[in-house]
Structure formats: structure tokens, C-alpha cells
């Protein structure tokens, strides 16, 4: 099934869009909120907040089993959301969409099922040097249990991982390539289509960690030919507590269940149980009944705005912010790959990232400082931590100006 994505018309009116996000109207430390940490978690539009509360207020019951009106309604909402995600990713089947808690759980699911059942000792998993801990540690746990080998494609000085740095690691034992679509620290966009094509030619499967990608650019899992694609709802302007694992039908069918429990079985006897078909096989227990439809509302929201237009808006902000920040003496931008999403990691020669974030917070500017769950990447660039400003669809040039003004305050305080 191909779902046409109509290009919305009209200008991208960020000031109008900002009114959709109630939290942007509240002051923080006596100043208007300048929220530049959407990479960690994005704020929610009213339509998402309403979607979640509407379920609780009017249509809430447990799903899939109840033989009564409310349960049927809640089940419909939940399964309709699955079809919304299917359309969003352009998956072939809706049962290829598995609801999880978040990207982390999606990756752990693959490691614990595909990894344990279908990988052998000595099989190689290729990752890159810019991965989030959630795309490193599950494979290390698998290595301890199954004796698989982890190979890491190096990051270059721009913060890029060129295709040949990845394909150069491929051997006859390479069975899985697990890479971020976009780096949460550097904003680097990896060439996932080419990576997938090369991996398939080498006989390997590919998992894409799309946690930082789905809100920045359109994703078509069939066009990419991705084997697995993972993302979280809360970074996509949706609720916390719900994530997605897309997997190709034949792979999901070949994998054992992840967790055992209710909803994921066909029959249970004390001697033996059999599993429910996809997608229930991977959705044991009561899921995020109210949050899954709210994720669909978030997808509807970004789809109505248009991911292409969102990307253009964010790229404009990225260019403006990069220009303004690099004009600040003593400021180093970490991550200068040619293809970047709207994420800027930086350091100042006069102040530690922690102090930068503190002074910015005092000015109402929320950024992240730390290792961003990517300690190996910090080591690669020889820094203990970075300050990171990240931009979402609701950020505007005034936010960038507030950031730069606050960074100059940091210099006033700590310079000399």
C-alpha cells in the first residue's frame, strides 16, 4: 500500500505554530521560555495533550479483550494509531509496526530476540562511533551472552562517518549493521540508504536508530529497504512511554517473542504455549493505551505541517544559529558534517559546559550540557562534555538570538 503524502500549502508560520504549544507561553525564571532541548525530548502541541486526555475522559478501557463498547472503541483507537504509524513510515503492513516504550526498548527487543536466536558466536555487528548508549549497550549485553563481535566505524574530525568507514568493516561474518540515522550530539545525518544497500549486498541486516530522525525528515522504510527502524514518540512531539519498532514481516515472524505475558499468546497450557501472530506477539501486557493514539495525533500534527517544510524551517535556523555562534570568539562547534540536522554541540574556551548551561538557564534558555549518553563520542573529540542546543519546529530566530546573547553573558562572567 502506498500512501500519498500531500505537500501542505501556505507559508510555515512559526509564530502561529508556537501558539499550538501551551508550554511555550509560560515564563521560566521570570523570562519567556527559550526551549532548545528538543533532541532530549520535544514539547507537545495541544492536539497531542487533548488526544491523550480524551482517551481517559471518554474512551478508556483495556484493549483487545473486552466484549463491550468502551473496550472496542479503545481498541479501534489503538489499532488506528498503528495504521497511522504504518503510513508515516510507509511500511508495507500495519503488523510490521510494534509498539514499545521507546527507542531504547525497540533496540533491546531486536538484540534480545533477533540477536539471541539468529546470531551465532563470532558473528559481527557493525555500529558507528557516534551511537547513543542505547545503540551500544544492548549489543554489548548480547556480546556477553552470545559471543558476537562488535565493530565500530570511526567518526572523522567533522563528526561524519563516511560510507566506506562502515563498509570497510564488512566481512563474511557481518550479520547486522546498527546505526543512528541522525547523531543526537552532532546532528550528523548518516547516508542510511547507501549503508543499507551496501549491508544487504554483504549479506547483513540493518537496524536504523531513528530516534533523532523522524521529526526532522521524511522516512520511507520500503524505499530505504530498512530491516528494522526504531523511534520514540516523545521526541516526535508525542507522549512519553510509547515508541515504535518497525521490522520486516519475515524477520519479525522468524524472531521469538520478547516478553511473555498476556496478549502475546494464542494458547497457554502448562506444557506449552503458542504465540499470537504479529504484532501482538511482541506486545505482551497492557500497552500504552492512552499514549498510542496521542502518538498518532503527533504524527498527524507534523504530517499536516509537512516534514519537508519543517526540515526547511529547521535548516534555516541551523544555518542562522551556526553563523551567529561561530562568530563568538572562543566558541568551538563540535560536529560540522555537511549533512546535519538542527543540533549544535559546542564548547567555550572560558567555561565548562555545565557552567554554560547554568548561565543560560538563568536567562530562561534551556539547553543540555553533558555527555548526551554518548561517552565514546566525547572521548573521540577529547572533551568531557559539550553544551548542546537543538531546534524543533517551534523554534524561531528570536530563540537563536536569546541563545547567542546568553552565551555572550557566559563570556562576560567567565572570560578574562
Amino acid at each position: 500500500m502506498i500512501i500519498a503524502k500531500a505537500e501542505p500549502r501556505g507559508v510555515f508560520d512559526v509564530e502561529q505554530i508556537r501558539t499550538d504549544f501551551p508550554i511555550l507561553g509560560r515564563p521560566v525564571r521570570g523570562r519567556p521560555l527559550v526551549y532548545l532541548d528538543s533532541t532530549a525530548s520535544a514539547q507537545k502541541p495541544q492536539s497531542v495533550i487533548d488526544a491523550e486526555s480524551r482517551i481517559y475522559a471518554t474512551e478508556y478501557a483495556n484493549i483487545h479483550r473486552g466484549l463491550y463498547y468502551l473496550s472496542e472503541r479503545a481498541t479501534e483507537r489503538y489499532e488506528a494509531a498503528r495504521r497511522t504509524v504504518q503510513g508515516f513510515l510507509n511500511a508495507k503492513h500495519s503488523h510490521e509496526v510494534i509498539f514499545t516504550r521507546n527507542t531504547t526498548e525497540s533496540i533491546n527487543l531486536v538484540a534480545a530476540t533477533y540477536g539471541r536466536r539468529l546470531l551465532q558466536p563470532g558473528d559481527e555487528i557493525v555500529i558507528t562511533g557516534l551511537e547513543h548508549h542505547s545503540n551500544i549497550v544492548p549489543w554489548q549485553l548480547l556480546r556477553e551472552e552470545r559471543g558476537v563481535v562488535i565493530k565500530v566505524a570511526p567518526v572523522n574530525d567533522d563528526g561524519d562517518v563516511p560510507l566506506d568507514a562502515i563498509t570497510g568493516l564488512f566481512t563474511a561474518r557481518t550479520k547486522l549493521v546498527a546505526v543512528a540515522h541522525i547523531s543526537n550530539v552532532l546532528g550528523t545525518i548518516l547516508p542510511v540508504a547507501e549503508i543499507i544497500q551496501a549491508a544487504h549486498a554483504a549479506g547483513a541486516r540493518v537496524l536504523i536508530d531513528g530516534a533523532q530522525a523522524v521529526m526532522h525528515l521524511p522516512v520511507d522504510v520500503q524505499a530505504l529497504d530498512a530491516d528494522f527502524y526504531a523511534f520514540s514518540g516523545h521526541k516526535l512531539y508525542g507522549p512519553t512511554g510509547v515508541g515504535v519498532l518497525y521490522g520486516k514481516e519475515e524477520l519479525l515472524n522468524a524472531m521469538p517473542p520478547y516478553q511473555g505475558g498476556g496478549d502475546m499468546i494464542r494458547t497457554v497450557t502448562f506444557e506449552k504455549s503458542s504465540w499470537a501472530p504479529l504484532p501482538q506477539k511482541f506486545e505482551a501486557g497492557t500497552p500504552a493505551i492512552a499514549q498510542v493514539p496521542a502518538l498518532a495525533a503527533a504524527i498527524d500534527y507534523v504530517t499536516a505541517l509537512g516534514l519537508d517544510r519543517i526540515a526547511r524551517h529547521e535548516n534555516d535556523l541551523l544555518a542562522y544559529a551556526t553563523e551567529q555562534l561561530t562568530a563568538v570568539p572562543g566558541l568551538r562547534v563540535i560536529g560540522t558534517a555537511p549533512h546535519k540536522a538542527a543540533v549544535i554541540s559546542f564548547s567555550l574556551d572560558c567555561a565548562h559546559p555545565h557552567d554554560i548551561a547554568q548561565v543560560l538557564d538563568n536567562a530562561g534558555v534551556a539547553i543540555r550540557a553533558g555527555h548526551h549518553c554518548a561517552q565514546p563520542l566525547m572521548e573521540r573529540f577529547g572533551v568531557p562534555a559539550t553544551a548542546r542546543a537543538s531546534f524543533g519546529l517551534y523554534n524561531n530566530r528570536a530563540d537563536v538570538d536569546a541563545l547567542v546573547a546568553a552565551v555572550r553573558k557566559v563570556q562576560e562572567l567567565f572570560g578574562q
Binding site: 565548562h352 555545565h354 538563568n362 550540557a369 568531557p384
Partner: protein, 153 residues
């Protein structure tokens, strides 16, 4: 600059953050420990030279960190020289109370030292920064107990 920020980053802290005292290695240290704050990536080593009477003859640190953790380590090394291990532990307990919003109740002989350390009391309003201020002190206690490594998380 708002007053809140000035309370946190007092001149003494900025000065010690920029120009930390005793940031060096002690070649003949008889105690040392590593401290780490995984949250912000700060790492430091505290070196101690304690004589047979239990008196701290020299104390220093190495490492990079934020202004708060560097200033705290620097001030700590200044107040500790000439103190006994027991006094060092009393200072730690009082400093910990100061940083976490409790009441510091130093004995008379340590009042001056506590006065010097009180510039760091501003961290009590910033829960995340308490760990920055106390990292050097936790590392000191670990060094005195000959524990090799300590983390504030």
C-alpha cells in the same frame, strides 16, 4: 547578571575557577583517589601527604571540571593544610551540610575555615550542582580511607 547567578558564582569562586590553587601532583603522596561525576564528565584526583601524627602536610588535586567543582577543590586544598585527618572529616561533614541546605556546626577551631568555604553555599539552590561542589570532598574522604575511586552518582 541576575543576583541569583551572582550568589552562585561569587567572585571568590570565579577566581579559584580560573586560577585554581594547588592543581599539581604530589610526587610523594601517601594517599590519593580518583573522583568522577558521570553526569558532567568531571574527573579529578586528590593527592595527600599525611605525616605520622595524622596531620595533612600537603594536599593537591589534578583534573578539569566546571567552575564550581574546580573552585571547590581549590578552596579545599587551601583549608586542609595543617589539619588532622579528624579535622578534615569534620570539615567534610560541615561542608556537606552547607552544600545540601543543612546547618554547618563546626567546632570553634574550624570556624574560619568554614567561613572561607561558605562562598559555595549558593549551590544548595541548584540540586544538580551540589555534586559539583562536593566531588573534591568525596574524593578526599576516599583518599583518606585509601579507596581508589569514588563517584558522585
Amino acid at each position: 547578571m541576575s543576583d541569583d547567578l551572582r550568589d552562585l558564582y561569587q567572585e571568590v569562586i570565579l577566581d579559584h575557577g580560573r586560577h585554581p590553587r594547588n592543581r599539581r601532583m604530589i610526587e610523594d603522596a601517601n594517599h590519593h583517589a580518583r573522583g568522577e561525576n558521570p553526569l558532567c564528565g568531571d574527573k579529578l584526583i586528590v593527592f595527600l601527604k599525611v605525616n605520622a601524627d595524622g596531620v595533612i602536610e600537603d594536599v593537591s588535586f589534578e583534573g578539569q571540571g566546571c567552575a564550581i567543582s574546580t573552585a571547590s577543590a581549590s578552596l579545599m586544598t587551601e583549608v586542609l593544610v595543617g589539619k588532622t585527618e579528624k579535622q578534615a572529616e569534620e570539615l567534610f561533614a560541615n561542608f556537606h551540610a552547607l552544600a545540601t541546605g543543612g546547618e554547618a556546626e563546626p567546632s570553634d577551631e574550624l570556624e574560619d575555615e568554614m567561613d572561607r568555604l561558605s562562598v559555595l553555599a549558593g549551590v544548595r539552590d541548584y540540586p544538580v550542582r551540589v555534586k559539583c561542589a562536593t566531588l573534591a570532598w568525596h574524593t578526599l574522604v576516599a583518599a583518606l580511607k585509601d579507596e581508589q575511586k569514588v563517584t558522585t552518582e
